[in-house]
Symmetry: C2
Subunit: 334 residues, 2 copies
């Protein structure tokens, strides 16, 4: 198996990216890595490791670059060249911790869509609090004005991933909505409900945003605008609460001392809420796995994302999606 | 001033509703209350208080009732009769802690819309963590498939309320979106951005869900589906975190003892996040103020909601909205 990794994307590139890849290389001897980026910076970190090749480029897409423009203009950017590796068959999957919008654009232009999938979806795994495996949220921001058919396709892609990679038997697919009863929500959610009901999925109906972290579903389907709002709302609420707790616990010497004793436990909570432990966000619907690692990824997060990528390749997730979508489309023609 | 209060709505009705009204009656001698509900249950709590009348009915809308059907069928429900009081000019505002959907329906059917407002909006105030006054979120679930003009109207109504009732000078009006730059988001948010830019408002541009609790804006405008998702996501994340903290802090005797010392502080945090302290959610766009108190309201929350209602009446919020909408519509005709 061969993975192409954008070595220059993310806050801690290239050092943590390379370190993470080295950790993975130790564990997965069957993976060959192509690191795309500045040879002068990457090579010293590698010690001539046999599982690594470097594809040299000094061009990079910055976090602040406008995605479409950057992908069009910076034809030799590390991210764009990494995508080209899968497009031209030299790699099985791509990982980047760089600009999310640019990766979605480069993935769509470079790797292209699976036949029968209208729009790719960005699918992070979010935490659940009951020792769960988290849940897959899709779309979290790729497709702003989605149609019911798109959401049906998200349900199918998410369900396949949840089953094959996360090991959930008959993953529970829920439709993000503002109430549980059928008939709730906006035009999009009402029409999507009817489609999902008839699909070959374990569709459990509407799920409310309030219940997501409790593990209400394994796969939560929504349009990209809503998904992004939910993701950011949860992040914002968690950030706000941690900052309140920190302020309270350091407001006096007495509470500071007590808080010192509790920090390890509070850190555990922070870890539960930190979804980088679940790997990166997959871009589903492309002809090859493209995975967005968190911008702030350290070596461990990159290791986890590589493990995830290798599972997606091993379990043939893309091919399974292709086949099922084809089958469903043929049945609907009858 | 006369307020009509649905004495039978909410988890703690009628006792906490009546207690809250009695607290308010003590402080606001200029308010006359009409409590709508079961006389046999309400009268013993009142001690012949001079500021109170009872409008007797035994019919009630339940929390689980389907809103539209319930409002149509239960013509003598306490909530429906309370709305009738403002409709027929016997009260200046209505408060209910009952079924939200039913209150929106009863308000729309009963009180009717302000001329020039196409759709009413439900507007709760959410907390901000920096000792702020919270921010107004509208619409939080009244209008599922909103158009740009609706969101413009929400901006105007929210800004007037924020200025007149919450005392914000030139309230910062933000558009809920998935990124800060203009041009981000879905079709609705792009078109709304252009409208808000030209409106007589202190429009500060797009605001992201992640920044809301930090006090990114005083008034946050969105469609009802998105607003409800954000509201519920924040609630869900806070609930999840508190439950994690509770589990961690009671997992051993040692941490239990320490936690005991910290509980008062953690309670303070819970209070900061509890938005019932900011009053109820206004239904803007109706010809009279209709306010939804939290279902779980205790006497204090009812007191706060009554104070809020009296300010809305005193500051002539409805009339100000009417005048400004009229003026804007006339200017646009030119």
């Amino acid at each position: 198996m061969k993975l192409a990794i954008d070595a220059m994307g993310g806050d801690n590139a290239p050092s943590e990216i390379v370190k993470g890849a080295l950790l993975a290389a130790d564990k997965f001897k069957n993976i060959q890595f192509t690191l795309v980026g500045d040879q002068a910076k990457i090579e010293p970190l590698l010690n001539n490791h046999q599982q690594f090749d470097i594809l040299h480029t000094t061009e990079m897409i910055e976090p602040t670059d406008a995605p479409v423009k950057a992908v069009r203009k910076k034809k030799n950017a590390s991210m764009v060249l990494a995508i080209k590796e899968v497009k031209e068959g030299r790699a099985d999957a791509v990982i980047s911790a760089g600009n999310t919008g640019a990766l979605m654009t480069a993935g769509l232009f470079g790797a292209g869509r699976i036949k029968g999938i209208d729009r790719p979806a960005l699918a992070p795994t979010l935490p659940t609090i009951n020792q769960g495996q988290g849940f897959l949220l899709l779309d979290a921001g790729s497709n702003m004005d989605a149609k019911p058919e798109h959401l049906l396709q998200y349900g199918i892609m998410g369900s396949i991933y949840s089953e094959k990679v996360l090991g959930n038997d008959k993953p529970r697919v829920g439709l993000l909505n503002i109430g549980e009863e059928p008939g709730k929500g906006n035009q999009l959610s009402k029409l999507t409900y009817d489609l999902l009901k008839e699909a070959p999925l374990n569709f459990i109906g509407n799920v409310e945003a309030r219940e997501l972290l409790q593990g209400a579903a394994d796969v939560v389907v929504c349009d990209g605008f809503s998904g992004n709002l939910v993701l950011k709302s949860i992040e914002g609420a968690a950030m706000a609460l941690f900052s309140l707790i920190k302020n309270e616990l350091t407001s006096s010497l007495f509470s500071k001392m007590i808080a010192g004793l509790l920090y390890p436990r509070l850190k555990g909570i922070k870890k539960t809420m930190d979804y980088s432990g679940y790997g990166g966000a997959c871009l589903f619907g492309l002809t090859a796995p493209v995975i967005k690692a968190h911008g702030s990824s350290n070596a461990n997060a990159i290791f986890t994302t590589i493990e995830q990528a290798s599972l997606i390749v091993e379990k043939n997730v893309v091919k399974t999606i292709e086949d099922l979508i084809l089958k469903i489309n043929e049945e609907w023609k009858k």
